[in-house]
């Protein structure tokens, strides 16, 4: 069996044309992750450019309102570009530059990863092309404008369901066309090895900070850590340094869309099964013949039929739990956090907030929940207004 396995999951199921590219990437990553100069540069970018460390905020009014566990919010929404995506992108684009690449390509769903990649490319003087499902370019028109403003070329993908999975497929196709000068900045903990490991390592800064910040504020570990899961990068980043602390519950919140008993869902662990797609073995929403299912969520960033292989593994061994949150619950939570704490979360992150609203009242007041707010919700305001029947456009 190949490298890059998490239990039975992971691997490198990609065309031969790309094999030397991923092997070269793995070699470069293994070199630079131990390189003090690389790490110094990356830390400086994360701190001075992206605004790390992000805050761990005690959500007092939410805690009081729910009447159970104390709730802390890990504020990845306060990062430059407004989401956790920048953590991974700064690492990968810096790595690509060290490897001598001059051009980066990326897929994007909600547009956050595309904006982050376009930002890092502008900062480091690299060419940038972003592939985005046509449906998503319409749902997230503002992010398309931002990417273009930052100097990136945005390609609207019209194949398949014209959403995130098709954007990933098209970016992979583009990479096989042009490899020598190009790095594929994969946006989540998915795809062929070494991407799930590289992206996890760059996102693990989230849990490293949570651990230190909560130790300072409360002198102890949290009882539960919650994060939304599409591919699962902010979730694995939030979980990673707690995996060895078995008393900390790790809870990933998947997008149930209109419900896990309907066809309009993107909750992979709840409704999918083992498969091989987009370079990895993991769980996927699919039919009895292995055709990938068209999935649905109000959130463009969670609208993906698979999940990263490390999540599939954490689920298999029972270390992490995965719950499904509907569109309606997520929109309620979007409005709830806005009114209660004055924080407008990304609709993706609102899935985790929604589950915290169920979980906290069932826990005692001396327990602690940390919820990662993976991004800010400005991008979603017009879509949520439309969901509630208000016809506004940004």
């Amino acid at each position: 069996m190949s490298k890059g396995r998490f239990g039975i999951h992971g691997g490198q199921y990609i065309p031969e044309t790309l094999m030397n590219a991923v092997l070269e990437l793995e070699e470069a990553y293994n070199h630079y992750k131990e390189d003090p100069e690389f790490n110094r540069e990356l830390t400086e970018l994360l701190n001075d450019y992206a605004g790390r460390p992000s805050r761990l905020y005690y959500a007092g009014r939410m805690t009081e309102d729910l009447g159970g566990a104390k709730i802390y919010l890990k504020r990845e929404d306060l990062n430059h570009t407004g989401a956790h995506k920048i953590n991974n992108v700064l690492g990968q684009v810096l790595l690509a530059k060290k490897m001598g690449k001059t051009r980066v390509i990326a897929e994007t769903g909600a547009g956050q990863h595309g904006v982050a990649t376009a930002t890092a490319a502008a900062l480091m003087g690299m060419g940038c092309e972003v592939f985005m499902g046509k449906e998503d370019t319409e749902r997230q028109a503002l992010n398309v404008y931002k990417m273009r403003l930052l100097g990136a070329e945005v390609h609207a993908v019209t194949t398949g369901t014209a959403t995130l999975k098709d954007a990933v497929s098209e970016t992979m196709r583009e990479w096989t066309r042009r490899i020598a000068d190009t790095h594929y900045v994969l946006g989540s903990v998915m795809g062929p090895h070494p991407f799930p490991t590289i992206v996890r390592d760059f996102q693990a800064v989230i849990s490293r900070e949570i651990k230190a910040q909560l130790m300072e504020k409360e002198g102890r570990l949290p009882d539960a850590v919650l994060a939304c899961v599409g591919g699962g990068s902010n979730a694995i980043g939030s979980f990673y340094h707690f995996i060895g602390d078995s008393q900390v519950r790790l809870i990933g919140c998947e997008a149930a869309g209109r419900g896990i008993d309907t066809a309009e869902t993107a909750a992979t662990i709840a409704t999918g099964r083992l498969g091989i797609f987009h370079g990895m073995k993991s769980y996927f929403c699919q039919d009895e013949y292995g055709q990938i299912a068209p999935v649905y969520s109000i959130s463009a960033g969670l609208d993906y039929p698979g999940v990263g292989p490390e999540h599939a593994y954490l689920y298999d061994i029972g270390r992490a739990e995965y719950v499904a949150v509907t569109d309606e619950e997520a929109v309620d939570a979007f409005e709830y956090l806005s009114r209660t704490e004055g924080i407008i979360p990304a609709i993706e992150s609102a899935h985790a907030i929604a589950y915290a609203r169920k979980l906290a009242p069932a826990m005692s007041r001396d327990q602690i929940i940390v919820v990662t707010v993976s991004g800010r919700g400005d991008k979603d305001c017009a879509a949520i207004a439309r969901y509630r029947g208000e016809d506004i456009y940004e």
Partner: protein, 273 residues
Amino acid sequence: MNRRIEEAFARGKAFIPFITCGDPSLETTEQLVYACQEAGADLIELGIPFSDPTAEGPVIQAANMRALSGGVTTDRIFEMVERIRTKTEIPLVFMTYANVVFSYHEGLGGQKTDAGTERFIERAARAGIDGLILPDVPFEEKEEFASACRKYGLDLISLIAPTSKERIARIAREAEGFVYCVSSLGVTGMRSEITTDISGMVELVKREKDIPCAVGFGISTPDQAREMAAKSDGAIVGSAIVKLCGTYGRGCVPEVREYVRRMKEAVREAERG
């Protein structure tokens, strides 16, 4: 090595057409197989459509979508192959994606087993299929498919690409049936020119193993087929044929027959040197 595949190359340089099953219908696909054989095809690649074919260009992607929306399933394709096998011994190889094999007939609802691969390959062998090409399964991942293929007498065809370089020797040593030489970077589709050093790739293979090498990706004209076949043991053509199917629909059979006849003639010219 699978007997029919061995014979396909024993007769000389091979012409290998690719057809997407069920585009526009399985009845048409069956007629296309007979037409290709009459026109001189030595081996036929049958594409099982996949919802997300990441190695395909726009022409074959569109054919996959047409076939799937027409209701084609893997089971109906197996039944078609059984019908074909009562009439002809032409070597038939499936080309599809890992998940179509791996997830064949797995129960829905969170089932976590991976018995689909053996179930698929056993069924394919019973239907009369001779080999399997999986463009998203590289050397490092082939064993979970190769072991079932060996058990049921199918050849798992290995691919090499212009980027493979030092990997070619390792791939060639374990290759079975024939080696699929990917002519160019990128996805499937017609190209105006092929700039890769095909002779160099073929030479690296033959240095390790006496196995036929067929060149695919980008070939559409008789000139290209002649040139590629001259440097190897055969030429594979997909998108140009699939495009005829897309253009002519159910009326594509005579068009494809005539096209294959011209391409096979070009390959024969390469044989004569």
